[in-house]
Each structure stands twice: as C-alpha cells, then as structure tokens.
C-alpha cells in the first residue's frame, strides 16, 4: 500500500485485488494515497436498501460505474440506478491534520507546565530561598498607581528609563519577565477584581 509518498516510486494496490503496481510518482507527493476518495451515495431503489460506496480512485474514475461494486442491479436497471446515485470526489490532507494537532497539543502542554510552575513551584522555591518576608510583593501598589496615574512623574520616569538597557542577557530576561508579570497582574485586576474592562 502506498504510504506517505516520500519516495519517488511507490507501490500502489489497485482495484482491491492483490495486484501491485509500481507507480512512480514524480514530483514527490506528500500526500498519502489514502487521502483521496470517491464517495457515492445511492438512495433506496425498489427493493434495494440505500448504500454508500467509497473507493480510492482518481477524479476521472469517480463515477457510479467504477465505484459501485458489486452492482446490486443487473443489466437494464444499472443506468436507472446509477442516475439516482451521487458521486463526489474528495481530497484531504491527513499530514496537515497530524502536524496541527501535534503542534497544538505541545503548545498546550508547555503552557500547562509553565502555569503549574508559576502558580505552584515558583512561590515554593522563592519561599525556600528568600524566606517569608520577601514574598509580600509590592507590585500591587505599583500596579494601581500606574493605572490610576496617581504618580505621574514616576510614570514618566518609567517611560524614559525604558531606553536604558542592561548588558547582561539573563538580567534582561528576568527584567522582561518581571515586567510581563506586572502587566498581567494589572490586567487581572482590571478584568477580574475591579470589573472595569470586559465584564
């Protein structure tokens, strides 16, 4: 069975029988041969129940005569039966789906780990390293002041000092993270506590 189509020549099982053909696919197709199908829906006809037929055929073979096997009616009725059937050619990209789900789950997993770290591990670590007293952060006051503009000159100080850069990369990262956490805390206050925005 064709798989992935990454190589140049692929063995394709044709027609449902044990007959293998070597089909050389040029250029390299990233499409799985299972990703195409022809789906024929045939409604009930006289005594025959409704049926759905599916096959991996290409667009030119996607019609009732090629796909509906075994044909439930004989000879003269085949045309009448086939007229009621509707055949559609469909393609999908299973590789895209797989990659997308893997990307999404990995980002979700990373965020969950970071969330656990921020809410549970970091306070524990800080408590162990620095003792209880330093846990009482003063970002609350800074947050409120910045948002209500109570200390306008301190705010101006912030604006102007943003251009100063520290040479150490780790310090920069730490600084950025602290600033981000302050911002998130302010946002949380506006949205969840004071119900000022987005209620």
């Amino acid at each position: 069975m064709g798989a992935g189509g990454e190589g140049v020549c692929v063995c394709v099982c044709v027609g449902g029988e044990a007959r293998y053909e070597q089909t050389c696919l040029l250029p390299v197709l990233l499409q799985n041969s299972e990703d195409i199908r022809c789906k024929c829906i045939c409604p009930p006809y006289r005594d025959i129940e409704g049926q759905i037929y599916k096959q991996n055929v290409s667009l030119k073979d996607c019609n009732c005569l090629h796909v509906v096997e075994p044909m439930p009616v004989d000879g003269k009725d085949v045309e009448a039966y086939c007229l009621r059937c509707e055949c559609k050619y469909e393609e999908r990209s299973s590789g895209t789906i797989k990659v997308t789900i893997i990307i999404y789950l990995s980002i979700l997993g990373l965020l969950l780990l970071y969330m656990v770290y921020l809410t549970l591990l970091e306070p524990m670590l800080k408590r162990r390293l620095f003792g209880h007293s330093q846990l009482i952060q003063s970002d609350d006051e800074v947050g409120v002041c910045v948002s209500l503009n109570i200390a306008p000159f301190a705010n101006a100080h912030n604006v102007l000092s943003r251009s100063h850069s520290r040479p150490n990369v780790l310090n920069k990262v730490e600084h950025a993270q602290q600033r981000w956490r302050r911002q998130v805390q302010e946002q949380r206050k506006s949205v969840f506590d004071r119900h000022v925005v987005l209620s």
């Binding site: 049926q51 599916k54 999404y104």
Partner: protein, 795 residues
C-alpha cells in the same frame, strides 16, 4: 562656555525659525517641525538646532485607557510623508526608502492575512478534533476526529453514516461494550468529564496568562478602533492564549461560537505585524487602518466570506473607513481566505460552511412566514440583549463576579448535563446548523427527513418530497423545541464568561431551529390543506413546494440580525455562507423586519450595549443627537466647580507647574496669555508636560524648581541671577479647536464625531471660558437619554 555660544547661535537662528513659523501653517506636530523646515536655513547650524530641539522621547505617546488625538496623529503622518517625499530625489537609497514606505501598508496587510488564515486553520482543525474527543477516540490514528476516522471505512451504512470499527466511544474502550444502559451512562459521564476539564483549563489559562483574552473582543475592538487605547489587548500573549483557549472553550460544549474571537485574533496579528514597520508602530491612527483590515480578515476566515468580512468591518467595527482602507481590507480578507482554503484539511474544499445545494424556487406567499421569522428574530434579539446585559451587570457589581472559575465550571456542567440526552444539542453547533440548512432529499437519512412514503407500506422510492411527516419527524420536532429553549437560556449565561466566547453561531443555531420548525409546520400545512386558496395557487399537488431548509436559513439570518443589528453585511455573509443567491430577497425581508422590530425595543445592538455597560468612551456614529442644548450648558467648569485649571504662557515656575499637575487629574491644560486677558494661546497635555519636565531635569543643566516655564517663542525677561528657564513650546498644541459658548450641542457632537476630537475649548467673546471633553459629551448624552451619567468611566 559651550552653552553660551549655542545660545547665541540659537538667537540668530530664531529669527529664521520665526519666519518659517508663519509660512508653515500646519499644527505643531511633535518637535519635528524645526528639523523639517530647517533644511532651508544654514545647514551647518541645523546640527545645533537638532541638538537643542531633538524630539523628546515619549512625547506624543498615550497613556493606557486614554483616547488618542486623531488630528495630531494624522498630522504627524502627513509630516512624515512630506519628509520622505522631499528626500526622495536625493539618492537611490532615499528613493528605495520612499517606495518601501509606500508599500509597507500592503506588506502589513498581507502578513496579517497570512497569519489570520493560518491561525484560523489551526483553530478549526484543533476544535473539531477536541470536540469529538468528548465522545471517543480513533484508535488507528489518534489525531483524527470522528468524521475523518471513518473517512476511508467501508462499514458506513446509508442509515448510520458515522459508524465504523476504528472509532471507539469511551464506553467501548472502558467497559468493552457499545450499547446498553451501562455504556450510555459511561458515555454521559465521560462527556461531562471532558467538558468540565476543557472549560476548567480554558479559564485557568485565561486567568493566569492573559486576562484580556476573555469575552468576545468585538466591543473592545470597536472602542479601540474609535481611538481608545487598551495596552496589551492586542498583544502576543493575548493572541496565543486566545487561540489556545478558544479551542478549549468550543470543545467544552458551551453555547458559544468562534467568530468574534477570530476577529480579535486577526486584530492581534495586525497589531503585532504593524510593529515591524515604524510607519504604523509610531502612529496610532495609521495602526487603526491596519486593524480595520485585520478585522475584515478575521470575519473572512470565520465564515469563509471575504466580501461579508469587508462589509462587516465597514458597518460594525470600524470608526473611520476611508476608501484606501476598503481596498486594503478586501485584500486582507482575500489573502486570509486563500490561506485557509489552501490549508484545507477536511477534504471537500470546504470553505463555505453550510453549503446549500438546492435551487428550488420560493413563492410569494412564503414571505409571510419569512416576515414572521424576522419578527421572531427581532423579539429574541431584544430579549437576549436585555437579559444578557442584566446578567452581566449582576456579575459586575455583586458577589457573583468574584468567582469566575467557579462560574465557568458551573455553566459548563449545566450545559453538558442538559445537552447530552438531546442528540441535537450534543453535536457540534456548526454541524447542527448544517443539518438544519440541508433540505431533505432522497440522499438524506437523518431523523428529520423520515417522511412517510406515499406507497402503502412498501419501501418504494418516490420523488415526491411533499409528504406527510413520519414519526421520526415528530420526534425530531420535539427535540428541536427543547433544544431551542435550552439554547436560548444557556446563551444568556454563556456570553460574557471569562473564556473566549462568540455570539454568531449560537444565534444562528437558535434562528435555524426556529426556522426549521416553522418550515416543517408550513410544509405539513401545505400537504394537509392543499385545497386552500394560497396553496392551490402556487403549490401543485405532488410538486416540491416548501423547502424547510430555506426557512432555517432565513431564521438564522433574522436572529443574527436581531441581536447584532447588522443589515447589509449580514445578508452578504449569509449568502456567502450558503451559496444561495436565489434567496436574497427573503433574507433581506427577514433581516429588515428583525432590525425594525428590534429597534422598536432599543436602539443598541449587543456590542453597543456591552460598550455602554463597560463605560468605554465610544461616541456612536449611528446615534443622532437631537436635543437643543448649547455648549455652555455642557462645558466645564460648571457653576459649582472650581475654576478652570489654566497655565499662563510665561508666568509659571517649574514648582508651580508640578503643583498644578499633582493637584488635579485633568488630561490637559489650556495655555493663556495672562490671567487678565484670558486669551488663548494653545493646549498642553498632562503626559507631555510631565515627560518634558523629567527630560529637562535629566538632560539640561540648571533647571531648578524655581526656573521659569515659558511656552512662548522667546524667553521672558528675567533678572540676571534667576536659573535657566525651561522652554516647553515644542509640546504645545498651537491650534486647539474652539467653539463659542452659544454653539448648539448638535454641532459640537458632530465636530467631535467627524474629527475625532478629545477635547474642545469654549470661548466667549474671544476669551477662554471652559472646556468640553469627550467624556462630558458622553455623560451629557447619557443624561439626556435618562441613563446613568456616572457610568462613563474612561476619558
């Protein structure tokens, strides 16, 4: 010594500069004006000018939760454009720079479209997969949802199109059996478990990482586009969290959609990409052009409706929409739709969500039920807006709002528990809408299409769809009625939760259910009473007369119109969604009826109502101000207020100035010639003054607390031993807008709307009398409409 010589040079050059001031009549756009027309002066001394009058970093930026000054931003942009154009002929490098500047707009918009399309593809695929995760897993390929798992299988039958051995429900996996009461209970339990865990994860992520990612986003984007600043609302973390939690929220089975949040996601992309180009990152007005285009791209990928997206951006979201933005929005919507289509993972090039494949005609008498559906849509819209706003207000002001996580879990639990037994609420809402829009033909076998065949007993197939309803249809109608009531109630509590939640799909679902019920009712009426005058005229016996699917479509459009009060954009979106071009007239009739009925109960749509609830300073362009008040009745200070806080042009010291700023909380101060004459010189903003003073303290020597501050061109004559004076002319707005105190408020409101002003000064006989700000106008309008004027929170 250096300072003295530079001062001398400055005095010489001042003469040249003053003459240029009169020629250059534009407003003072930052402090760049000195450099742009200093090119004509002696080139050796422009360096001195540059050194002394370099733009102070931070001047011209805005505080969080403040309104921008549109006129100033547009003027800054014109300055920049003039500068680049004047340098264009100098060298090839400058020419390339000017080309780059001209094309950067298209580049931003293209990047935004690409990013929106890609993110929408990710959200679609992930949401579909996670939704089906509540039911079971695909053993052969874990990343496939139910439909994709059974895609190649040959075990699907005509009656049961989703059965295949590769897809195992949870009961099958855990208990080992697929049928029976035990497995039903196990499936129920696992459904609730997954729904709750997704909802819990979503609200935790929102709370810990990006609180701005909750809600729909459209009211806030409307406010941002009208000139408000909410820092962080369109940032990177908000983008990431909104994308991730939107998938979780949709998958948890809550009664919400993803269209509004997709608009937010697209605007975040637009904002992030605009930071790569200084033309857009430094100018708030230009940035909003990009955001308008981005919101068009958002709706385009949400619905697969590029033209509808552009019209939505024009009608609902944007405030100023010049023609250039129209073209750019169209381009963004196109690029986004193209990217989404080329990602196309689902197999049938399905960009159109609910493709309607029938082309049966509709008859004139059917306009009556369509208009009835329009009335239903309008009534439901008015009811929903009132109920939702009342609930949100409760949440905002009472203890209910203190437990957002608990609230989300509770709502998700109730939704899951009630939704599972009813097959119409258990499935994905988009699938429900698709099923309701599809007409019953020979190829359909759902419960809704189980009509009794004409031939006695035998399963002979007939072409006649106009048949009496079988027991399947009656059962489906009951379930649909229950689903309708459930959805109407749950959506009220779901919209506004602290997870990303949209409104379009639930409204369309409610309308589609109502429409389908009406359609089946009319169809049965036509069958059983085919000798009535109405039906005899148009419906022949045995002919295909009524299409209930069309009624579902019209109902969906009516309900969506009733709640958002969109008109043209809604009709375009619906016909792009369904491909049913023949049905524009019924759609228009229903949408207009629902708008009229909805407007009879209240003029605001859901987004305007949320804007008013939050107190954002949004001056609605659609409302008319019809009262006869004058400017002096609205201006501040009123009789009981302290006098207007003004600055004199050369009398103040730094200490006094700081005192005025610290004592008051006004955003700006008018500058007058002197207290006796009260003649207006200009307007200075609080933020600019504070930044300029800080900057002067750092960079210039000799500025002390008793230094004189002057806003004039030349320093006032001071005694010899006084400290160096501080010149703040560069931050002064020399042409503030003024009206006289007898100007009718209609004109003042019009000026504010059309020019995007923040404040306007009021003069009497040429002397400064007071000031009107946007907040005053909003409060006045609220007072005139008998609403609470104190609810306007922001400036």
């Amino acid at each position: 010594p250096t300072i003295k010589t530079t001062r001398h040079h400055l005095k010489v050059l001042n003469i040249i500069k003053v003459s240029f001031t009169f020629i250059f009549r534009c407003k003072l756009c930052g402090s760049n004006y000195a450099m742009s027309n200093g090119g004509g002066a002696a080139s050796s001394s422009t360096h001195l000018l540059d050194f002394l009058e370099e733009p102070i970093p931070g001047v011209g930026t805005y505080d969080d939760f403040h309104t921008i000054d549109w006129v100033r931003e547009k003027c800054k942009d014109r300055e920049r454009h003039r500068k680049i154009n004047s340098k264009k002929k100098e060298s090839a490098w400058e020419f390339t720079k000017s080309l780059y500047d001209a094309w950067s707009g298209w580049l931003v918009v293209t990047l935004t479209g690409l990013a929106s399309g890609a993110l929408a593809g990710l959200i679609d695929i992930a949401a579909d997969w996670m939704n089906d995760l509540k039911e079971g897993v695909c053993l052969s390929a874990m990343w496939f949802n139910h439909e994709q798992c059974c895609w190649t299988s040959n075990e699907t039958t005509f009656a049961e199109r989703d059965k295949c051995p590769q897809w195992k429900s949870w009961a099958e996996l855990i208990l080992g059996q697929a049928e029976g009461p035990g497995s039903y209970i196990m499936n129920y339990f696992m459904y609730i478990y997954w729904a709750l865990s997704f909802a819990f994860l979503a609200v935790c992520l929102v709370k810990v990482f990006a609180p701005y990612a909750c809600g729909s986003g459209i009211p806030e984007i409307k406010t941002i586009l009208s000139g408000f600043i909410i820092r962080g609302y369109l940032g990177k973390w908000t983008l990431m969290i909104k994308t991730i939690t939107l998938v979780l929220a949709v998958a948890s089975g809550l009664s919400l959609g993803k269209e509004g949040p997709l608009v937010h996601v697209a605007c975040c992309c637009g904002n992030i990409f605009s930071y790569l180009f200084p033309k857009y990152s430094k100018n708030e007005a230009k940035k909003r052009e990009v955001l308008s285009a981005a919101s068009a791209a958002g709706v385009s990928v949400a619905f697969g409706a590029p033209i509808g997206g552009v019209l939505f951006s024009l009608e609902e979201v944007s405030y100023y929409f010049p023609l250039k933005t129209l073209w750019r929005s169209f381009f963004a919507a196109l690029v986004a739709a193209f990217v989404l289509r080329s990602i196309n993972p689902f197999g049938n090039s399905r960009l159109v969500l609910f493709y309607v494949e029938y082309h049966t005609p509709w008859y004139l008498f059917e306009l009556i039920p369509f208009i009835l559906l329009g009335v239903f849509g309008g009534l439901w819209g008015a009811f929903f807006i009132r109920a939702n706003i009342a609930w949100c207000r409760r949440r905002k002001s009472t203890r209910f709002g203190k437990y957002p996580v608990l609230e989300v879990i509770l709502v998700a639990a109730i939704t899951a528990v009630v939704a599972f037994p009813n097959p119409y609420t258990r499935q994905n809402t988009s699938e429900l809408i698709k099923e309701l829009f599809t007409d019953c033909g020979p190829l359909e076998s759902s419960q809704l299409c189980q009509y009794r065949s004409q031939m006695n007993g035998s399963k002979a197939f007939t072409d006649n769809p106009n048949r009496p309803a079988g027991p399947g249809v009656y059962a489906a109608m009951w379930q649909l009625c229950l689903a309708l009531i459930f959805k109407i109630i749950m959506t009220i509590f779901t919209f506004g939760l602290k997870v990303p939640s949209g409104l379009f799909i639930p409204s369309m679902a409610i309308g589609a259910i109502a429409g389908r019920i009406v359609g089946i009712a009319v169809e049965q009426l036509a069958y059983y009473h085919h000798d009535w005058f109405l039906f005899k005229e148009w419906c022949e016996v045995g002919a295909d007369c009524i299409t209930p699917g069309l009624y579902a479509m019209v109902g969906a459009a009516a309900c969506l119109g009733g709640v958002t009060r969109m008109t043209v954009s809604l009709v375009v979106i619906v016909f792009e969604l369904t491909g049913g071009l023949e049905y524009i007239v019924p759609l228009m009739a229903a949408v207009m009826t629902s708008k009229w009925v909805g407007d009879a109960f209240g003029r605001e749509g859901i987004y305007e109502a949320h804007i008013r609830l939050n107190g954002y300073p949004f001056l609605d362009a659609k409302e008319e101000f019809t009262h006869t008040t004058l400017a002096r009745e609205v201006m501040r200070p009123r009789r009981s207020d302290p006098p207007l806080a003004v600055l004199t042009q050369d009398d103040l010291t730094v200490e006094e100035l700081q005192g005025i700023i610290n004592d008051t909380s006004y955003n700006g101060f008018p500058v007058i010639v002197s207290k006796e004459s009260q003649r207006l010189v200009g307007f200075a903003l609080r933020r600019d003054i504070t930044i300029a003073i800080e900057n002067a303290r750092r960079k210039q020597e000799g500025i002390m607390l008793n230094s004189r501050v002057y806003f004039t061109q030349h320093a006032p004559t001071l005694p010899a031993d006084s400290p160096r004076p501080l010149k703040l002319r560069s931050i002064l707005d020399m042409s503030p807008f003024t009206v006289t105190d007898h100007t009718p408020m209609e004109i003042v409101v019009d000026i504010f709307r059309k020019l995007g002003l923040r404040q306007c000064l009021v003069t009497h006989n040429g002397r400064l009398l007071g000031i009107i700000t946007k907040k005053d106008i909003l409060r006045h309008m609220a007072q005139m409409a008998n609403q609470d004027p104190e609810s306007i929170m922001f400036n």
